[in-house]
């Protein structure tokens, strides 16, 4: 197994990007990743494109993006793992490099969610579970799926809607310092509480927005990493798991089992004994506020039922025990489905190298970072650990 480095990252500006087509949007992040790494297209052995689609016109985004980015003729595929598609693209690239199939591999995530009228996009996301048994007759929506977890969680642990709102307040705070974020304005608990319900008890400001955007990451083996960059960041492990399509098949609604399994795999492989103290910074999947609380608990950062207290006590702000989503998270930075996982890795590489600076730069002492990316409602889970240290291979 070859060690795998992240040698270049890029992200587009996130938001309602009616100024760019899907291939143009992908180019923004891919170009940035080329510049960041110093590689050119000829150095890239393969590329994987992550995109969910349905709401956008191009049916084969991998080749559309590949042609525009000057990658035609390279091996490629599109991958889908719902909201974790970007991490799936990273995983495929990681496998290619670690197995020796590729020296340099690119992962490009892109989503053009505003290409359809909003109700169409809402409809598609609502079908992201089991269409036949749970959508056809019961019309769930994406917030609806997570709201089921929220009601069970609040009932069991006594969390209040105001506690959930703390996550939105934190992530909007950091989004306000991120010039590429979809939302760059702070919000208060009161504003979250006053926003309208989308799926009780979740409100508009508990929810990540419908966002266009792209993110790209270039991976390389040790030899190529050394050739191109002086400061690579290393992928130390990727833990992957999946959950049932039907929510009715879940044993409880207090935790995402796939996230628990994926994180245990990732921590075990990276030799992390205590995840509570191992990381300087994390990006966790906060498609809804409740999801970020589940993330803390599913990864063992907080005890079961105590995640909301961590948020309330500001332990997940910069300077706290587990700084999470200093990018603004999906909540404020935006959640262009296929790009999100790669945007997390882009952010974490820049965090570890202290390239972010300012208010939202984490203190880097241990040199480790963590990405937690969930597809659907625990349908897919990808947990990735990154380090400045290559580790013994």
């Amino acid at each position: 197994m070859e060690p795998v480095a992240v040698i270049g990252v890029g992200t587009s500006r996130f938001g309602k990007r009616t100024d760019a087509r899907i291939d143009e949007l992908a180019w923004e992040s891919f170009k940035e990743a080329l510049d960041d790494s110093g590689v050119t297209q000829k150095d890239i052995d393969q590329f994987v494109v992550s995109s969910l689609g349905g709401w956008s016109s191009e049916f084969l985004p991998a080749v559309v993006v590949g042609e525009y980015c000057g990658l035609a003729s390279k091996p490629t595929m599109k991958v889908e793992a719902a909201c974790a598609s970007g991490s799936a693209a990273a995983f495929q690239s990681y496998l290619a490099v670690s197995s020796g199939q590729a020296d340099v591999a690119a992962a490009i995530g892109v989503e053009k969610m505003s290409e359809s009228p909003m109700p169409t996009t809402v409809e598609f996301i609502g079908r992201a579970g089991n269409y036949f048994w749970e959508f056809e007759n019961f019309g769930l929506t994406f917030p609806g799926y997570y709201a089921l977890y929220a009601t069970a969680y609040m009932d069991r642990y006594g969390a209040k809607e105001e506690d959930l709102a703390e996550v939105a307040v934190k992530n909007h705070f950091y989004g306000s310092f991120n010039p590429k974020a979809h939302f760059q304005k702070p919000v208060t608990v009161e504003e979250v509480m006053k926003s309208k319900y989308v799926a009780w008890p979740l409100k508009l400001l508990d929810s990540s927005p419908i966002t266009d955007g792209s993110a790209a990451v270039i991976f390389a083996n040790a030899k190529k990493a050394k050739e191109f960059v002086k400061d690579p960041v290393w992928i130390r492990s990727i833990g992957v798991s999946s959950g049932t399509a039907n929510l009715s098949k879940r044993s409880d609604f207090l935790s995402l089992e796939a996230a628990r399994v994926a994180s245990q795999k990732a921590f075990s492989k990276a030799g992390i004994a205590d995840p509570r103290t191992a990381f300087d910074v994390a990006e966790v999947h906060d498609c809804f506020t409740i999801a970020e609380l589940l993330a803390y608990e599913d990864m063992g950062i907080a005890e079961r039922g105590k995640g909301f207290e961590m948020a309330k006590n500001h332990q997940t702000y910069k300077g706290g025990s587990f700084p999470a989503n200093l990018s603004g998270g999906l909540k404020a930075k935006g959640h262009p489905i296929g790009a999100t996982g790669l945007a997390m890795l882009s952010e974490l590489k820049r965090q570890l190298l202290q390239e972010i600076g300012g208010q939202r730069q984490a203190d880097i002492r241990k040199g480790w970072a963590l990405a937690h990316n969930i597809g659907g409602t625990g349908h897919y889970a990808y947990v990735t650990t990154l380090s400045l240290d290559r580790g013994a291979m």
């Binding site: 089991n130 019309g139 009601t151 799926a199 609604f253």
Partner: protein, 176 residues
């Protein structure tokens, strides 16, 4: 409050794009918020799926006569809801249909306030997950309760009937 229908939104787009073509030769419209120029696609694709149910037809026969059933593998006894014609545990494909209990306990629920456009004609509806005594969960609507009175842990009963709004045979929970 009536939700904006995607069909209405599409109809307006088609009309406006047609006018733009008549006037300029191209279906270009500015985005309502950003004013960026957009090319409105002219190849519409209504989605209608034809989903096979032949392998679990007895489930639908029972549903029509008012009973919700699970499949039970006649070889290893594994029970499946939603029903499965094939047992992934022992690889057998002989199943029997067993009626589900009609009592349940509420595990989780939500009120769908912002609805998918294909559900726009319905009022806000409650989606609930109930745990049956046999250990299976059922996800369905919950009817006849003020959302503010619903509590996790409350007792439910499972009703199988035609839905008033569209006449389709389905199942839902009510307060027991």
């Amino acid at each position: 409050m009536s939700a904006p229908s995607a069909l209405d939104a599409n109809r307006k787009l088609i009309e406006d794009a047609r006018k733009a073509v008549d006037a300029t030769g191209l279906p270009l419209l500015p985005d309502a918020k950003t004013s960026d120029p957009l090319y409105v696609s002219s190849r519409d694709l209504p989605l209608k799926f034809l989903i096979p149910i032949g392998k679990i037809e007895p489930f639908f026969d029972a549903l029509k006569s008012g009973t919700l059933t699970a499949t039970k593998c006649t070889k290893c006894g594994a029970v499946y809801f939603p029903p499965q014609a094939d047992c992934s545990a022992c690889k057998a494909s002989q199943v029997e249909y067993v009626p589900l209990s009609t009592g349940a306990v509420l595990l989780a629920y939500t009120v769908i306030n912002v609805k998918p456009f294909s559900f726009a004609p319905y009022g806000d509806y409650v989606v609930a997950i109930g745990r049956l005594p046999e250990g299976l969960n059922v996800l369905a609507w919950m009817k006849g309760m003020e959302p503010s009175k619903i509590r996790v842990g409350m007792k439910l009963k499972l009703v199988v009937d035609r839905r008033r709004e569209d006449g389709v045979c389905t199942y839902w929970f009510e307060s027991a």
